[in-house]
Symmetry: C2
Subunit: 206 residues, 2 copies
């Protein structure tokens, strides 16, 4: 089975399985079941078994999953058994918080370049990295190994910045600007917009 045949919605659940399994591992839990894993993340055991079966045979009937083995397998499937370089574009409040966030480094993601268009910020450092001007973006990104960018610029600048990043070799963008990006079909974009998450919940609170 090739990777292409796996629905994206299934791929999107794998990092949640991995996160829960890594948590188990840190807490010394050696084996688990789809029931236990499902209860810990609010996904049905049947769904988990179905999702995992798309990638291979990971458990034995009656004995469940080896947590260590499943973590290794999921890390390999998601290509996070290696480290990834990130580019950060936009060093405002949120960009500053992300640059300081230890959760990236712990899980194999390293911010290697930071850009901002504010002349007061350019030349200063953030998390040990120099902040470069936006004029340097294409040159510096295209000569780096980074394939992933985090976009924390205002919505009005997001599309133009994304276009520049893609031109410079970026293939995946985590977009914090509250707007949809238009990108070629081979570019991957994920969105983080807390307001849509809040609005999802207010539906139930009304």
């Amino acid at each position: 089975m090739t990777q292409k045949s796996i629905p994206d919605i299934v791929v999107g659940r794998l990092p949640r399985y991995l996160r829960a399994l890594e948590y188990m591992l840190r807490n010394g839990i050696k084996t688990t079941s789809s029931q236990e894993l499902g209860e810990s993340i609010g996904i049905s055991a049947a769904q988990i078994r179905k999702d995992l079966s798309q990638f291979g045979e990971f458990g034995k009937q009656g004995t469940g999953y080896s947590v260590r083995y499943l973590v290794d397998q999921l890390q390999a499937i998601l290509h996070v058994n290696q480290s990834w370089d990130l580019v950060l574009v936009g060093v405002g409040d949120l960009g500053t918080a992300l640059a300081a966030y230890q959760g990236f480094i712990n899980r194999g993601f390293h911010i290697v370049l930071a850009f901002d268009n504010n002349p007061i910020k350019v030349g200063k450092k953030i998390g040990g990295l120099p902040i470069y001007s936006m004029e340097e973006l294409e040159k510096r990104v295209s000569t780096s190994k980074a394939k992933i960018a985090m976009l924390t610029v205002p919505a009005s600048a997001a599309q133009e910045t994304a276009d520049k990043l893609i031109k410079s070799g970026i293939r995946a963008i985590l977009n914090y600007a509250p707007m949809q990006l238009n990108v070629p079909s081979d570019i991957h974009v994920e969105y983080i917009d807390p307001v849509t998450k809040l609005q999802h919940m207010t539906y139930y609170l009304g």
Copy 2:
């Protein structure tokens, strides 16, 4: 049709429709189609029509949707035609960035209380709000109107803090700590974990 019969995954798409439609409205676009809306957000026209049909008849065959009308309807369905008070727990780098984020106020969400367990921060102000100690959380939250909390505490403190919030009347939690919360079935939790979004994309980059 009662609210309970709408699948949660459909509810979760409505804020994305609303965001795209509000963007059209700001740009003076008066009518749209499920095709146009779908293209702008990467969801099929058929899916959009199917999702919206669960809530009523919003468009006319051949003339499409009135953007203004659909925005009004979606705001009403999601209960965001009113403003909502938020509680912020954890005023670290991320909490500080969220307190400064104009995107909440613009879209009807107002942080009204902020808490942190760091004595150096307690008594200081953030975004015009005093930062209270965690000891004051239950008293202050339970006497406020807030039903929604944003949790930006370390993972090790997240469950305990969530328990306190729920005890104080909070019914919905936006959890930024990279861990699953165990909550009663009538409490709504949404998660923001940039690493799971990055890992979703590295699947395709390997």
